[in-house]
Subunit: 333 residues, 2 copies
Amino acid sequence: MINRRILLKSRPTGIPGEHNFEQDEIPAAPPGMGELFVETLYISIDPAMRSWIAQTSGYTAGVALGAVMRAGGIARVLSSRAEGFAPGDLVQGRTGWQSHPTLLGRQTQKLDLSLGSLEDWMGPLGTSALTAYFGLRDIAALKPGETLLVSAAAGGVGQIAAQIGLIDACHVVGIAGGPEKCAFLRDTLGLHAAIDYKAENDLTAAIRRACPEGLDVYFDNVGGPTLDAALANLRDDARVAICGRISQTVAAEPYGIRNLGGMGARRIALRNFLVFDYHDRYNEARAWLAARIREGKLHQKLHILDGLDTAPMALGMLFKGENTGKLIVKAGG
Amino acid sequence: MINRRILLKSRPTGIPGEHNFEQDEIPAAPPGMGELFVETLYISIDPAMRSWIAQTSGYTAGVALGAVMRAGGIARVLSSRAEGFAPGDLVQGRTGWQSHPTLLGRQTQKLDLSLGSLEDWMGPLGTSALTAYFGLRDIAALKPGETLLVSAAAGGVGQIAAQIGLIDACHVVGIAGGPEKCAFLRDTLGLHAAIDYKAENDLTAAIRRACPEGLDVYFDNVGGPTLDAALANLRDDARVAICGRISQTVAAEPYGIRNLGGMGARRIALRNFLVFDYHDRYNEARAWLAARIREGKLHQKLHILDGLDTAPMALGMLFKGENTGKLIVKAGG
């Protein structure tokens, strides 16, 4: 059997895309001891990928030139030499951008389909959803009735963060780019307001109009000028969960934050975080998220592209803001 | 008896000074019910004063034009109609810039001279010292053996923060302006290193040389480019206590912070704070500080100017960085 792979060819300056990758095909490797041979079904396309292929890598060792692009995904087990896995099992693991990888059993998790569907595991039970959960629960300590602002609110993490805010009976405002995404936030997800940052000259004033009493929590997925505008609207005791900096990852010049003092707000706290630090609590989070899915209170719009070939283009779409919803590639199945 | 007062004449743009104030003399007011009539002995000159007289005031209602300049100080009671106070008592309170004010008993505290001398109460038992204590203990949660960087380390708050770091067996580095202050930090206080920011072209690199493994805690008294350079040197799990922004208070253009992500450091937290929030724990802090003074482990260099008249000039010195040590005005006694 053939393993079709997408390899990193060059490191991007700015937005990554097809020019940074190349394909090859090699004979699929039979599983060694402790390994699984799988067929990749879905691949998650995430902002963190940009840092994995950057010149100076961020929080994790980068992808080497010529290596398979790293990615998390869902796969079906074809053969197994790892305890606890059998052919036909559906698993989550580090598939990378390849059709028939061999995975380490200890880095792979069997999906519990009693919690949700295959698509749910790519969406509201996936890593993006866990990121939203721990960012709000642990980092920001969101409380009922507070005012929550979420940037990139139509994106993979942002959608879930915004809905957790609604479930927690908060006043929730989302920022997104374009009228379509904003309509989705207001009409489909039921946010109290949505701000189209592309249509606003003065984002600080737009946030103030939507949240006249200021922000208790800002869930930041983008950094840069959006973060600055949010900082200018913080209330006393506000918390900022810094999840991502998608605007800054590809920026030629880093943006200078001017409102760090929160324009005089007292006792403000900014924290960045990594979802992987919460590994021991994933089950707690998934149980909560699954219950909300069953109650019909938590949804996730998936933006699905068809075919492994589309992965490089999908990554570019993410940084151009062309996706509405959690971006995934359907690689097989 | 005459009360000599210094009044706010105009709001400063940039560094405040004598041109923003004027003096007058009025008959001293006899104390009403619940009040004390006092002679001011020492007045504290603090960075927060700049925000009290700014156009747009920060965390507290500003000083009105024509009003007595607000200040904390130490005074001797001349007559009392407040319970618990008698002539001759030494008290701490909101004296303002005036020689013979009338104070509210409930806003005034009798000094416990068993904890330290009158000068200790202006220095290592005063509000600046409490600020350092709660900033490190509560906001930054400094732990033994960690690396601590303190900016404005020769100033009122910075000196105490640096010494608390030494008492806690930390690697302590201070930033100050000029060789004299740096020699004081190294030779008198015993810091592991001192960085003269005026002599460094690349403050980020200078911090890296002094703290090659990065910072666990940054106690920030200045904001602006110094904060940015510190952020670039954070380790994973670093905490930044944002105490003051003296460089930004008088800056014409706010500086844009570029390194908020901590250059990839994980789990970093930035928090600003107000010492007044810890009012209920002042006694705990003063007991600890007094014990360290008795052990000879905690000192404070006071920079004392003589005469109430010097207060406006003293305020200007503070923002020009011309003081070494906690700046106070001796108003009487």
